[in-house]
């Protein structure tokens, strides 16, 4: 399969939107629900996952010919765990306040099935370039999902975004939004929104098909 510009773009955009790891594949729910009680936490978590995923994909893809398939999962886990630990220490040194908030969930990135899934399903079978593009796409999609959830929960739960007050002091916080049930409810509603958008688009495409018009962007 020759690699064209189109392919690169497709691999990137699929993770961001069409196959979004959270909204479409429903992967990585543990950090998704646990640390999205504020936009900052969500962004840092998303950033940490971003780094781990891109770095792991790069290494797995470059080393794929040297890794015997019998021990591939263990090797992937070692690679992922290395980057997770590096991230853990770096965050602890650079952003100690946020690190304290995220607590146990940084080491738990290693158990994020989205990361291992990308190695097994994509990085180990594709060229380094495509693997990195795919990881960038998926990680951005994850970051985007975490951020949307974190932003909604912080705005409603604290009346603020990134700690800046959006309303007057009289704002009545929605306590449930900072608690776990708020995470579930918001995630459910976002999934609803995504499925609705997708359905609407599918219907549109079907209509275009009926009218025998070739849509320019059909994905």
């Amino acid at each position: 399969m020759p690699e064209k510009k189109q392919d690169t773009y497709q691999e990137f955009i699929k993770g961001l939107w069409r196959d979004n790891p959270v909204f479409v594949q429903v992967l990585g729910m543990c950090p998704m629900l646990a640390v999205t009680n504020s936009a900052v936490n969500a962004l840092v978590m998303g950033g940490a996952t971003f780094f781990v995923l891109v770095a792991s994909s790069f290494f797995v893809s470059s080393l794929k010919n040297w890794i015997p398939k019998q021990v591939r999962i263990s090797t992937y886990i070692i690679i992922i765990a290395t980057f997770v630990t590096v991230t853990d220490f770096t965050l602890q040194a650079l952003m100690p306040v946020v690190h304290k908030e995220l607590g146990a969930f940084i080491p738990l990135i290693v158990a994020n099935c989205m990361i291992l899934g990308r190695q097994e399903a994509f990085a180990s079978r594709n060229s380094v370039r495509l693997a990195v593009v795919d990881a960038l796409g998926m990680a951005s999609g994850f970051l985007f999902a975490l951020f949307s959830l974190g932003a909604v929960r912080e705005i409603l739960g604290e009346g603020a975004l990134f700690g800046f007050k959006l309303f007057s002091d009289d704002f009545e916080p929605w306590v449930i939004m900072i608690l776990p049930p708020g995470g579930f409810i918001t995630l459910g509603l976002l999934l609803l929104l995504f499925n609705w958008l997708k359905e609407r688009k599918d219907r549109l495409v079907a209509q275009l098909d009926e009218m025998e018009i070739e849509p320019r962007f059909r994905s």
Partner: protein, 335 residues
């Protein structure tokens, strides 16, 4: 449904139709709740009416907005949205900001009912879903109880009702404790006549025990609700709290207090009996009802909250599919 050719009408059984329809049951329930609603408005003043209207408006607007265009008219007419809104409104404190009551109505119908596929598909009682959401979201506003207006203050409303959307309510200092709160935190009982007639603080529709009982009996006689459920809930709650009362009269409330305080009567007759979220078989109905009764007393006496009716019903709602499964009548002739 419209048939194209009325000469040939093929339909599955049951072919003999009962007079009872969803529409009619809903109307009966609304009628049965009217006295309680008026009593609530009389006791807590004009504000109570506004809170109820806001919650009904939220429920009906959500029903309308998220229904397919061709079903909108039918769904509004079947009255279930209005009933959900009314039931929710009756379980809210009278001084609640109207925007919160509206939001409660939206959540009740949106998350409590429509997400599951509409009327008849939901697992949990929609009104209680809305109330649970409000209690978890606005714990302070939902547990600030105002003293009664009782006639003379009928046209004086609580300023907190008119808090702007998303803004905090400001209460004037006349908040008080409910009979259950008094019992839990101060070990102080309330006289039975007050509980029966409704001269206590509490949610809009939970205080007047007598009217709730009357409306409930009306529904049972009209066969709109399964008599086993209120009977089971009230009996088991009374017996359980009676046993505790017999063990230690100074610590535990007497059974009559248990029955007439809080939202037990309202919930036993109007919420636990929701045919969608309660078991189908008579045996299942008994298990369901006794479960609620026991949980209510358990949460009230040993839990962190003064009132446990809402969580008791939601928990048993969750158990309903399981109960239905185990109490399924055996097919005749099979082991």
């Amino acid at each position: 449904m419209q048939y194209k050719d009325p000469r040939l009408l093929v339909q599955p059984s049951p072919l003999l139709k009962q007079q009872m329809t969803t529409h009619q049951t809903m109307r009966d329930l609304l009628f049965a709740l009217l006295p309680v609603t008026f009593a609530g408005i009389w006791l807590f003043g004009f504000s109570a009416l506004l809170v109820i209207l806001a919650s009904i408006l939220g429920a009906v607007a959500t029903e309308w907005l998220f229904s397919p265009a061709e079903q909108r008219a039918a769904r509004l007419v079947d009255g279930s949205g209005v009933l959900t809104g009314l039931l929710l409104g009756l379980t809210l404190p009278p001084a609640l900001p109207l925007w919160m009551a509206f939001l409660g109505g939206v959540v009740s119908v949106g998350i409590g009912k429509l997400i599951w596929g509409g009327l008849g598909q939901n697992l949990f009682n929609p009104a209680l879903v809305g109330r649970a959401f409000l209690l978890a979201t606005f714990p302070n506003a939902m547990t600030t109880w105002s003293t009664q207006a009782s006639g003379e203050g009928f046209f004086q409303w609580y300023p907190s009702n008119f808090a702007l959307p998303f803004m905090q309510p400001h209460y004037d200092a006349v908040s008080t404790a409910t009979p259950l709160g008094l019992m839990k935190f101060e070990q102080q009982s309330t006289a039975l006549p007050d509980l029966v007639l409704g001269n206590t603080a509490g949610c809009i529709g939970e205080t007047s025990g007598l009217l709730l009982l009357a409306g409930g009996v009306f529904l049972v006689l009209r066969r709109d609700i399964d008599w086993r459920i209120p009977a089971g809930v009230l009996l088991s709650a009374a017996i359980f709290s009676g046993v505790l009362y017999a063990i230690d009269t100074s610590h535990y409330p007497d059974p009559l207090f248990t029955l007439f305080s809080g939202g037990l009567l309202l919930a036993a007759f109007y919420m636990a009996t929701d045919p969608v979220t309660s078991p189908l078989t008579p045996r299942g109905a008994w298990i369901f009802a006794v479960g609620i009764g026991l949980l209510v007393v358990l949460i009230r006496i040993f839990g962190g909250f003064p009132e446990g009716v809402m969580y008791a019903i939601l928990l048993m709602n969750a158990a309903t599919p399981l109960i239905d499964r185990y109490t399924q009548p055996r097919v005749f002739g099979k082991e």
